[in-house]
Amino acid sequence: RMSEVRFSKLSVQTCVCITKYIALLTTCSDVMSLTLQLDLRPPRSKLVMEKSNFADEKSRHRKNVEEHHFNHMVEVFIPGCAELPPSVQTEFDMPDDYYLIKDVPLTEFINKDFIENFVKKGSLYMLSHHTHIDKHNVYAVLPTGHLILSVHKDTYEELGLVGQPSQFNRKVKRKFVVEVDLTQDIFVPGKKNYERVKKGFERTELKADFLLSWKPEGTGQLAGSILSYFHGRYECARHSQVPQVSRHTDLLLPVVTSSQLGDSDDGDWCSARECYEWLGAVSCGISCNEAPEHYISRFCCPDPSEMTPVAVRHSITGFVAPGKVLRIQDSLRSYMTDNKTTSPWVALTVHGFADSPVSWARREHGFHHGGENLYTFLFFPDSTYWLFQAVGTNDICP
């Protein structure tokens, strides 16, 4: 006697139960087999490739940088130069320290002095440290004055504040996002909204280590004065961005035309996607001049390519504010529009934090199998540029 039963769209738990059941049943003399058909599609991701001109009034080159609040690594790759141009080097050399403050309770953020002196008077960037967005509660303060909390269901219910369920994995509502606007006029002690938030924070006693960077408005105050606010009550540590330099000689570069993003019919230029993969290889320190034996790898510089005698790659890693990226962008632009430039293009890449609750502006960001939210600019001498924005599975298209 033979019978066949088919199930489809099973959850992992159901598969495990069925497997256990069949293992119990095969103690008798019947023959049983269980065939699993796996969904082998790769996880989803999005890559936006944009081509524009600095003179275009709709150009989003500034907005893109300003709205990407939390930056982990900034790198510049300049072919045709053995050293960074002086204007770019000064931007990299300017000290830009950030602080790590341990065990800060969330009630500190609703303190009136804190809001008046720091949140409203400059750009404050704070991100909870060592918290994974897919496992733990994550908190962030944006320079717009919003406090973003990405919390578990239990914490959300205990907090008692109004929020939205996470946009990713909607069927199982495990995480909720709460936004508190600290700069609102009605957000003052005594008002209903404020007291509710305060009670929620006091009841749940939420706290975390925070990475902090504050850029005061105007020149009235020093960026380090925020440290005196936390000093003495919490453990503070100051960190500087970690630089890294690598130089190349006799490097093959892909040939690209600033006006064409897609493939070339005659093989006259490389597509934007191929160029992006090659740039990624340079950032990872992969040498791709000569193709190694086929058994190991078939990756090499995309065709057509040109040889450059020198190239330099400079990066800083840490907690970088968008203001620094904007200044680096401006210095690279002025270098490219200078007549003496020997580079066919320059690349500026910025990597975001994998565990940030937001990617650009207040768009929610998550970590599915990777938390990538990064962008790359490619500046050409004729004031045109390419912009690549890459995000992962749990992300909204930028």
Binding site: P42, A237, L279, S297, H351, G392
Partner: protein, 119 residues
């Protein structure tokens, strides 16, 4: 101004992996590393699986860590095969998959791992 949005059709997937042997004195060169991966694919998916094109873009002999490139359609197969490998040449070993991304640029930095060690 032109804008192309490419969704869900990444041509390649990139994995940052490292191989650990229970016996810490064992070290393998790049050819043996490639053979280990091939054996892992063979044991899980047979001859067809072993023939899937996998590129080792970067290999470090001391740490036995590498950056692999595989076609998007085979990414899940490779990841599964590497995870389930437990022996090579009768020596217990395991693959640790540190980072996976459809963008090679994303593997240049990892805010999760880097911050753990420096701060």
């Amino acid at each position: 101004m032109k804008r192309i949005v490419s969704k869900d059709d990444a041509p390649y997937y990139y994995l940052k992996v490292s191989l650990e042997f229970e016996d810490e004195t064992v070290a393998v060169d790049i050819l043996t590393f490639r053979t280990v991966i091939m054996k892992a694919m063979m044991s899980m998916y047979g001859e067809v699986g072993a023939a899937i094109q996998i590129d080792i873009l970067k290999y470090e002999g001391e740490t036995m860590s590498a950056i692999l490139r595989v076609a998007g359609s085979s990414a899940v197969k490779l990841w599964g095969a590497l995870t389930l490998l437990s022996y090579y040449d009768e020596k217990p070993c395991a693959f640790r998959v540190h980072q996976v991304s459809p963008f090679l640029m994303a593997l240049a930095s990892s805010s999760r791992q880097l911050l753990m060690s420096t701060v």
